[in-house]
Amino acid sequence: DQQVKQNSPSLSVQEGRISILNCDYTNSMFDYFLWYKKYPAEGPTFLISISSIKDKNEDGRFTVFLNKSAKHLSLHIVPSQPGDSAVYFCAASGNTAGKLIFGQGTTLQVKP
């Protein structure tokens, strides 16, 4: 049973436009959410996180939105750059053990 789902395997946007990556979860006990970026042949890199007590967190060009009632989070990248082309994973946690549940990933392509 997939507790964290990224329903779009891929996304293509033009450089300078907004990229919106989506993630849904089923477990209402999740209280911490993260986004990771992964280039080929490298490990995932932590991008941004949000606690369930907030509905928005911003870091430069990256903003994560959390809608707890819909069990949905999204990552906005504005403006998108070709270097943002990578696989993006969302992850969620609901315990004190540091264990994360990951989505399947979305491949973002930003075209020059």
């Binding site: 540091g98 990951f102 399947q104």
Partner: protein, 113 residues
């Protein structure tokens, strides 16, 4: 800056072999994790450890074991490698407690022939 180092970037082994994947972190993190990444399946947790000599099964532990004799080192062992264990293996670490991001190594691409 957190550094998680995996001993090999690429590894080719034969079915039935015992395979060791090594991971070392330099930030004195309590938690360490082993994942495998397969296309369309994301990252799936194999095993994790909260402390030296402690280990917990993740979502797909079958065919694997782990060892954590020292805080900085977490080893993944494929007891008898099979072709369905061909995958990208990722090690991660994080500090103790909740709401902490995990930091990943660059992965080991393991092929079982």
């Amino acid at each position: 800056d957190v550094k998680v180092t995996q001993s090999s970037r690429y590894l080719v082994k034969r079915t039935g072999e015992k395979v060791f994947l090594e991971c070392v972190q330099d930030m004195d993190h309590e938690n360490m994790f082993w994942y495998r990444q397969d296309p369309g399946l994301g990252l799936r947790l194999i095993y994790f450890s909260y402390d030296v000599k402690m280990k917990e099964k993740g979502d797909i532990p079958e065919g694997y074991s782990v060892s954590r004799e020292k805080k900085e080192r977490f080893s993944l062992i494929l007891e008898s490698a099979s072709t369905n264990q061909t995958s990208m293996y990722l090690c991660a670490s994080s500090p103790a407690g909740s709401n902490q991001p995990q930091h990943f190594g660059d992965g080991t691409r393991l092929s079982i022939l």
